[in-house]
Amino acid sequence: MPIIVWQLAFFVGPVLFMVAMSFFLVKNYRMTEAFEFVNWAKMFSKGYFWSSYWHTVWIATISTLCAMCLAFPAAFALAFKASENTRRWAIFFLIIPFFTSYLVRTFSWFVILSESGVVNAILGTVGLGPYTMLNTHIGTLVGYMTLTLPLVVILQTVTMANIDRTLIEAARNLGCKPLAVIWRVILPLSKAGFIIAAVFCFILSFGDFVAPFYLGGSQEPTLPILILDTTKSGQQWPRAAVIAVVMMATLFTLAFTAIAIAYRKRSTS
């Protein structure tokens, strides 16, 4: 099958080569093929690597929680309150951001969020601020939301719109209060879709370097920034590969666990 060859050449090849590269050595600014654990030992012994790692996990988790919570009411409204047609248009509009340059949008936030920017200008008219938002975690999170929120809203909306309405009516009919319907009927039925949305949100936040760099000011660099820093300093590609492999291992573990939970059949107890 030519497809397999193609994917092997241009997908598996790069990934495996990167893993191999994490064992290479750098001598006199040139990479030499080798099989040594020095890069691993070096990265794992560095305090900044681990603090970056936990910081990245932490901020990607916060980002995921934010996106899931911010998206839910909107997705709920689109799924249950809006007409079929409105929903179609809403999803269409939510797709648009994926096809506008993320960089340009980030640059735009740069201006909007700055101390002389739009948000502070508006707050200023009611006597508030100015607040510092750039170069803080707020800036980073705004960037992550720019990247992930449309996707999460789409996934949540589609998931909930696919719920069989009669199940909800049945629950109401059996005396379930509205909030309890959400908790006991809608969320369990949407579990798989929501978990996938959360996983994608986490992956995107975990791997994005633009938001933490441009909006977060690299304050506590995340792993993607560390990768870039490592590559530009002294040809340390093998160490960048170590970071990348650790990131991939983290994401794969997370994704497989999440998918296992999402599609776990209830045991017959």
């Binding site: 600014y29 990479m31 900044y48 506590e220 530009k232």
Partner: protein, 379 residues
């Protein structure tokens, strides 16, 4: 070894790094060649901005040539690009002063005829005999311009007096408003100067290096962010950052022209200089016209163009150039202190020994400096 455009590269560099790693990679002959037709094309390898119309348009029109610029983002990036292209690809190369030696050693550049260039007119003797530009009495490169790095600050937050020392970065009022240009060399170089290492700023023994690290760490809680070229620009302009460590006039100068209340000065502890020089690519078939261009750029008119360059400013190296600038654009001349007898006049600063040409650490490896920088960012 601080240099504006290099700094601007920050993120950019890794692409180039890899191009070098993949030694065998063949770079397609510049695709752009097919786009333009008629005039003679001159392939230029340079820092960003040097092939832009504001610099070259006049020369192009007068000589029916067309510059096809390829911009690099660091000295080793430049070397990699040349190495990966067929010989003769680049007709003119704009190099960092200290990389000329390596270009020459690798045989990438042609020998020059000293009589073709106005060496008598140079503002400083160092510019006539710049390290590495000559070897065995043969000339390989001519200096075009330079720039100094020091304290860059917002005039509303820091007074001119305070800016006279790197100590102003520690000013309590600007906590969280000090930015770093995200590259360890200029930053650590400045701290080294602040530590009083002066001419030995790159040559630190363990104790001095430890002291530099401690001093740097003490700055950490003042810091509001780490920026590349664009981020540095933006955060100084919009007031997010009130002072910036690791840059100089090449950024604030551009902002000043745009009306921002920012400035750069060389503090009493001293500053760092970047230098840019022209070379003719080996086996270039257009050496004659390139020579003409270099003569043009070193002529008073060309020096004015260089000083006014939109991407980032640099000071004139010839007396004629400076005189022409003062006449043509006194405002820019004034702004960049390029008038004899002005405070912080660049040549005077060099003569006073307050400026140090850039270099790399001699007792530590670059890797040590890098690792420390990563730790610092994560602290």
């Amino acid at each position: 070894m601080t240099k504006p455009a290099k700094s601007k590269s920050s993120l950019l560099t890794n692409r180039r790094d890899f191009l070098r790693v993949g030694g065998g990679a063949i770079l397609a002959a510049p695709f752009i060649n097919k786009v333009h037709a008629a005039p003679v094309e001159i392939n230029m390898l340079a820092w960003y901005g040097h092939g832009e119309p504001d610099v070259v348009a006049e020369f192009e029109a007068a000589n029916n040539v067309k510059f096809v610029p390829k911009y690099y983002a660091g000295g080793d990036n430049m070397l990699a690009l040349i190495a990966q292209s067929p010989p003769g690809t680049y007709d003119i190369i704009l190099s960092d002063g200290e990389f000329v030696q390596q270009l020459n050693a690798a045989g990438y550049i042609e020998e020059l005829e000293p009589a073709d260039y106005p060496f008598d007119d140079m503002l400083h003797p160092d510019f006539q005999q710049f390290p590495g530009h000559w070897s065995d009495g043969k000339l390989h490169s001519v200096i075009l311009r330079g720039g100094h790095l020091g304290v860059s600050y917002n005039k509303n937050a820091i007074t001119a007096e305070e800016a006279q020392s790197y100590a102003c970065f520690w000013k309590p009022e600007i906590k969280g408003k000090v930015g770093h240009f995200d590259w360890h060399l200029p930053n650590l170089g400045m701290i080294s100067l602040f530590e009083g290492n002066a001419a030995d700023l790159w040559n630190l023994d363990d104790a001095a290096w430890g002291a530099v690290q401690d001093k740097t760490m003490s700055l950490r809680e003042q810091i509001g962010g780490f920026f590349d070229y664009g981020g540095t620009f933006n955060s100084l302009k919009n007031g997010e950052m009130q002072a910036m460590c690791g840059i100089g006039d090449w950024i604030t100068g551009t902002l000043e022209r745009d009306g921002a209340p920012v400035a750069s000065v060389i503090p009493k502890e001293g500053g760092i200089q970047f230098t840019e020089s022209y070379c003719i690519g080996k086996n270039s078939e257009k050496a004659d016209i390139v020579k003409k261009f270099m003569q043009y750029m070193l002529s008073p008119a060309g020096q004015v163009k260089s000083a006014q360059m939109a991407a980032y400013p640099g000071f004139c190296v010839t007396k004629g150039g400076r005189a022409a600038l003062i006449e043509a654009d006194p405002k820019e001349a004034m702004r960049s202190h390029q008038m004899d007898g002005m405070a912080n006049e660049p040549i005077a600063l060099i003569n006073e020994g307050r400026i140090h040409y850039r270099d790399i650490p001699t007792q530590q490896s670059l890797e040590d400096w890098n690792d420390f920088w990563s730790e610092y960012k994560n602290a």
